[in-house]
């Protein structure tokens, strides 16, 4: 029930429609300028470039979703209805998170027009499309979990958003750190690079099990951290 109420709330908010339309517009412009370009490209290259552009822009959406689902209700007092409910707290957290993830999937679905065009008009492969979108969904789930954690802490909305962005930037820049550090730490930093190290295979249409589990691991880690922080918050004054 909480899942459906949360999901429905996305479709009842003008700010959600406005942000979604803006993101899709940006994606359209970026596709035109960065993917199509002036030189002719193979359908596989076009698909790969599109998935890259889409992944960069779709990093913003989970942060906005987490703010809508977790930070705003905490600030305006709606959270009290959940906190006083006799239901399991982890179940409430999971239902709200899943509602956010389903809405994120819906946004991804709206971006499918270009890959579908490549599929039917230029002969791109189904596998490439499906693997690419599994990658986008996994990446989005992990970013949503990171933002969920920060949006559940007792900070104003803008601080939660800033902390999510900084953490995300750190995770994205891990590949840069790996280039600066000695060889023994290189692998370590490169492994925790959220985008380059793990998303690259997905955008080329290769399903890399290790990267998929990396994203799942990040998601579970931050959801558990959220659960523990909520539990401890109630136990300490």
């Amino acid at each position: 029930m909480i899942f459906f109420v949360t999901l429905k709330s996305f479709f009842r908010s003008w700010s959600v429609y406005l942000s979604s339309a803006s993101l899709l517009l940006l994606l359209g412009i970026a596709t035109h300028t960065h993917v199509l370009g002036e030189r002719p490209k193979l359908a596989t290259v076009l698909m790969s470039d599109f998935l890259y552009v889409c992944s960069v822009l779709s990093m913003i959406a989970p942060i906005l979703i987490a703010i809508k689902v977790f930070a705003e209700p905490r600030m305006d007092g709606r959270d009290v209805w959940y906190e006083t409910a006799p239901q399991n707290k982890s179940s409430i957290l999971l239902q709200r998170f899943l509602a956010g993830l389903v809405f994120y999937s819906f946004l991804l679905l709206l971006s499918c027009y270009f890959p579908l065009y490549l599929l039917f008009a230029a002969g791109a492969s189904w596998t490439h499309l499906l693997v690419g979108y599994v990658g986008l969904l996994s990446l989005g789930a992990s970013i949503l979990a990171v933002s969920t954690f920060f949006c559940s802490l007792r900070f104003p909305v803008w601080v939660s958003a800033l902390l999510s962005i900084v953490t995300l930037a750190l995770l994205l820049l891990m590949w840069k750190f790996s280039q600066w550090t000695s060889s023994s730490w290189q692998g370590f930093f490169a492994y925790f690079s959220l985008h380059d190290q793990h998303f690259d295979a997905f955008r080329r249409g290769l399903f890399k099990t290790g990267s998929f589990f990396f994203y799942m691991g990040v998601t579970v880690f931050f959801l558990l951290s959220t659960h523990l922080s909520q539990k401890n918050r109630r136990e300490l004054l």
Partner: protein, 253 residues
Amino acid sequence: MVSIKNKSAQLVYVQNLEAAYGAKTVFSAPDFGLSRGERVALLGLNGTGKTTFLKLVGGLMWPARGEVSLLGNAWSPAVRGKLRSLVGYLGHETGVFEDMSVREFIKFANKLHGSKCSKGDVEGLVDQFELCEVLDEKISSLSFGFRKRTALASTLVRKPDLLLLDEPFHGLDVKQVRKMADYIQNLDPNISIIIGTHLVPFAQSICQSYAVFREGVLETGENWDDVQRYLEGTEEVPEHGIASTSAKGGKPS
């Protein structure tokens, strides 16, 4: 399955409770008890700990020291779900979901608490709080008075044994305050109520006794004139005017 022990015990019992933010103790409540059907006003100046006390009794916070128990069961993770079903908590911010209609929100609150209310019960609450005319209107389009009423009706769908109201008159005009006081006064007499408020005359019209935070200690009493003067800062409450322990007092039997 967790069972509620000792049904005959006091509904709320607070013992040696201390609330602290870091090293600073905000208040202490040595001994406070509330029986079934009893209504107590929780009074105190701003920042003395009324909201914190209500949250501690409602299990929304865990105490630094001391114990809060409902029907003889101290709040703990094991009994949390069971005890929560006994408590209705309404904060000074109503927290109603503005994108829903009044009907949808009451239905949502009912489902959230295990659909304890039948369709007839819900209709009864809608009548009781005079919400018929706005039932299908979006909450965002309603006045603050209607939002408060919607929130109170939605808190009651869980059929609580204990109702915790934090500043129920906050943000309402005089007419609406009177109306809200009437609504609370006419609630089921079996529901125990703790009202955190500054408005002593309205609290007096609803409650038999009061508990006041005085110099960081929760004390209870029934001498409303004295407490009114104390809160207005015109006179200190004499020591003999306020009992240092619960009016109903005593540990659960």
